[in-house]
């Protein structure tokens, strides 16, 4: 059995978590010798050669194929129909549609060229690239032989749909995050439409957590039986022993991630306040940046905990490891997290973790304190306990380590391959 897989990015050139997950999955597939064609918008040449890679930027489209026109027509329909901006005055609306029509022409002429160079980023022409990617997918589907299509997240769903149309082979849509996780209640309708179209066109859907499955069922109206939960894993389950020395005498409690509504930073601040009032021997660190950063700084000042609560700004590479290594407790209070890999990174650094019940990772990590993101009393309680009661933190450290060893991508890949077999045989 041969699988045609569509991703959006692949390490080392990644800007989101999707690339890491795809890498893990492909690596796991390689372990089971699963035959795989992996397509990305752009290849850089330094990717780990784990599959037959196809660089979408290299694919030339032969427009003599009539079905390409149909696919394109569907894609343009998707864009124009979902272009909804409320509260425009008639004049603004006129200007807007004028510009839109003009842009549409330009877009058509560049997207419909024989070759197209993808940026593979998440830039302003994202939708354009997503559409072009679908055309390329159709061409690849025509050229290659395979038995099944697997597409990761909305960016590659149109590609998956197009490939299915061309080949008639079954499609598996893999959902790592939905628009509701990324944007809260203010979803981008265009993105939602693409997601839903992908889910509807798919023969089977893989969700990274039960939490995500629930979203797919309730918000996208997909039948429950169609969705299978396959949790993510960790690339490297080994324990990291850092030689990093802590320079402050106090214990350190850390939040690390984007400082946005979805990550629940304000609950961390409020819980910190409760702990600091009881315990002088602790510092809180909020690492990362995002649109709520200034509001968090303001709140910390208001609560008068500025000498005990620190901000690092955006951390990269070594500094992330350093931060994990220095932490005594790691907290992930996400309001909505389809999976959330960072608590597992914390476990690798021997740091006990507190995670919100509203995160997918809570479904796989048993040795962690789980609280509702909004329950700041429970969060403060848990922080205090992990800081002071060595028994519990020691237990979490040891058992978390053991648990981590079971979270391997080859196990995930095995489950996915089983789903392939079932789907092809249906």
């Amino acid at each position: 059995m041969k699988v045609l897989m569509f991703g959006w990015e692949f390490p080392p050139h990644i800007s989101g978590g999707l690339g890491t997950a795809c890498y893990g999955l492909v690596k796991g597939m390689a372990h089971h010798k699963q035959d795989l064609i992996f397509v990305v918008p752009r290849l850089w040449g330094d990717e780990d050669p784990l599959a037959e890679f196809v660089n979408a930027s290299d694919v030339e489209i032969d427009y003599r194929e009539r079905r390409f026109r149909d696919i394109w027509k569907n894609l343009t329909y998707l864009e124009v129909s979902s272009f909804l901006i409320p509260y425009l005055s008639p004049e603004e609306y006129h200007n807007h549609t004028e510009r839109l029509l003009r842009d549409q022409d330009e877009l058509e002429s560049s997207v419909l060229a024989n070759k197209f160079s993808f940026s593979g980023k998440y830039g302003k022409d994202l939708i354009l690239e997503v559409s072009r990617y679908a055309l390329v997918a159709a061409q690849i589907a025509k050229n290659k032989k395979f038995d099944l299509i697997h597409a990761h997240d909305w960016l590659s769903f149109p590609a998956g749909i197009a490939a299915k149309k061309m080949s008639g082979k079954p499609l598996i849509a893999h959902v790592h995050a939905t628009e509701f996780d990324r944007s809260g209640q203010t979803v981008n309708q265009r993105v939602y439409d693409i997601e839903r179209a992908g889910m509807e066109a798919a023969d089977k859907i893989i969700a990274v957590s039960q939490l995500t499955k629930n979203t797919i069922v309730t918000k996208y109206g997909i039948a429950e039986e169609k969705v299978v939960v396959v949790h993510n894993a960790v690339l490297d389950t080994s324990i990291i022993r850092s030689r990093e020395q802590k320079k402050v005498p106090e214990k350190i409690v850390t939040f690390l991630g984007r400082i946005t509504f979805q990550k629940g930073p304000e609950y961390f601040v409020e819980a910190a306040y409760k702990v600091i009032r009881k315990d002088d021997n602790v510092r809180f660190v909020m690492a990362g940046s995002g649109d709520l950063l200034n509001r968090m700084i303001q709140r910390v000042a208001e609560l008068r905990i500025g000498t005990k609560f620190h901000f690092t700004g955006f951390l990269k590479g070594d500094d992330v490891d350093k931060m994990f290594a220095l932490s005594d407790v790691y907290v992930m209070p996400s309001v909505s997290e389809p999976f959330g890999i960072s608590p597992l990174e914390a476990v690798r650094h021997n740091t006990p973790v507190i995670i919100s019940k509203q995160s997918g990772v809570a479904e796989v990590l048993q040795n962690a304190v789980k609280v509702d993101f909004w329950d700041i009393d429970a969060m403060a309680d848990a922080i205090f306990a992990l800081l002071h009661y060595n028994g519990i933190s020691k237990m979490f450290k040891e058992m978390g380590r053991e648990e981590l060893k079971r979270l391997k991508w080859e196990h995930v890949a095995k489950k996915v391959i089983d789903i392939y077999t079932q789907t092809v045989n249906q």
């Binding site: 802590k246 320079k247 402050v248 005498p249 510092r283 660190v285 950063l293 200034n294 700084i297 303001q298 910390v300 000042a301 208001e302 008068r304 500025g306 000498t307 005990k308 620190h310 901000f311 690092t312 700004g313 500094d319 350093k322 220095l326």
Partner: protein, 402 residues
């Protein structure tokens, strides 16, 4: 005789270097030597040296008829010693003429008068010693508080330290119908004379001089003389108080600010009935017209002339309160580096960078700030302060152990 009193504030803060969370507990060197040195050298070249030279020429030319007054913060004197000794020499040369008065202030341009009387007195004492040391035993008689911050009770403390007078802002909301062009006395302690800034004429030079959209642009010596002659004949003194960096730094040389100042004294002496005096002379010669009531502190900053440029928002209050909690434990320490950092951390500029009044005066704040936002300023300051607190604790431990 009616008189003009020029007072120039000379100050630069010791700016903090970008100090990250990871450095807390490890790196105790907070100061951005590179940028402090660069800024000092830049301002020296654009302002301090050429303007001192010009003032020296004018003082020599008018043989005692033209005089000015300076307040040099302890921070700037430290920076001159470290980075620009030629600037210090040129100030010494000016003071040597005998026609330049020096004021006393808090050593590190601090806001301590609002928080701690003991720290305030300590800071004033330190500054006095610094001035004595650098200017042949010079003893200032008149006081100027940071940013001209003044209230009845601050005045009382200043009087208690033996000063004859203090400088402040002629803020509309405290003067009402009264004019700033007279000498007033402190509401509690009539011994202390209060000189108030004529903010219209001062700011015409300090803020509006090079402002092309100003209806009176360009400001010529003729125009300024015209305005001086319109001042009611009974008014006695016009206090022109401003930052010294006005000359060549805030108002660039290209605006003609140096030429304006070069010609002003001669025009004033020949074409008006004003002369020039230093604050001490004003206080000695003019008789006070009454008390000035200032129950709530005023300053010379922004439209409101209040304290909101430095204190009042949560970022500022948190930083300021946490800092002053440390006073007692700093006083117990004999570590000279702790003592030095305690002074520099008090400098008002750190709190100014945390100001969030973006809409009216925010652009002035942004111009002076090394940070991209008040939030960044707060984070950096609090990281440093956290390390400082750890050092104090360590120091205390060592003291108890020995």
């Amino acid at each position: 005789m009616r008189t003009i009193c020029f007072y120039f504030q000379v100050h630069q803060p010791f700016r903090l270097k970008p100090y990250r969370f990871f450095e807390i507990g490890d790196d105790h060197d907070y100061w951005d030597d590179y940028s402090n040195r660069n800024i000092m050298n830049k301002v020296a070249k654009k302002c301090y040296l050429p303007m001192n030279q010009l003032l020296l020429e004018l003082i020599h030319k008018f043989q005692g008829k033209f005089k000015v007054c300076f307040s040099l913060s302890g921070c700037i004197l430290d920076q001159m010693e470290a980075y620009a000794p030629e600037v210090l020499r040129s100030f010494q040369e000016l003071v040597d003429t005998g026609h330049v008065e020096l004021l006393n202030e808090t050593y590190s341009h601090s806001l301590c008068a609002l928080k701690s009387e003991s720290e305030f007195k300590h800071m004033v004492q330190l500054h006095q010693e610094k001035i004595k040391h650098h200017f042949k035993g010079y003893e200032p008689k008149v006081f100027r508080n940071t940013e001209l911050i003044y209230s009845d009770s601050i005045g009382e403390m200043v009087a208690g330290m033996g000063f004859d007078g203090i400088l402040s802002e002629g803020a509309k909301h405290i003067l009402g119908w009264k004019s700033p062009n007279f000498v007033y006395v402190n509401a509690h302690e009539p011994k202390l004379k209060v000189l108030l800034k004529n903010f219209r004429l001062s700011d015409d030079i300090a803020f509006r001089f090079g402002e092309k959209t100003w209806s009176d642009y360009p400001l010529t010596t003729d125009k300024f003389i015209g305005w001086l002659n319109q001042v009611p004949q009974e008014d006695e003194v016009i206090n022109l108080f401003m930052d010294y960096e006005t000359f060549g730094e805030h108002q660039w040389k290209e605006t003609g600010i140096f030429e304006f100042m070069r010609h002003l004294p001669e025009a004033v002496l020949n074409r008006t009935n004003f002369g020039f005096s230093t604050p001490s002379e004003v206080i000695a010669n003019a008789s006070p017209v009454g008390k000035i009531n200032v129950p709530i502190p005023i300053s010379w900053a922004d439209e409101e002339r209040d304290l909101t440029a430095w204190l009042g928002n949560d970022l500022q209050d948190e930083a300021f309160d946490r800092l002053f909690e440390l006073e007692a434990s700093v006083k117990r320490s004999s570590n000279p580096e702790i003592q030095r950092d305690w002074l520099y951390l008090q400098t008002s500029d750190h709190f100014y960078y945390m100001c969030t009044k973006f809409f009216s005066d925010g652009d002035i704040h942004a111009y002076f700030s090394p940070y991209e936002s008040p939030y960044e300023a707060f984070i950096n300051y609090m990281n440093v302060l956290s390390d400082f607190i750890l050092r104090l604790k360590q120091d205390e431990k060592e003291r108890i152990a020995s």
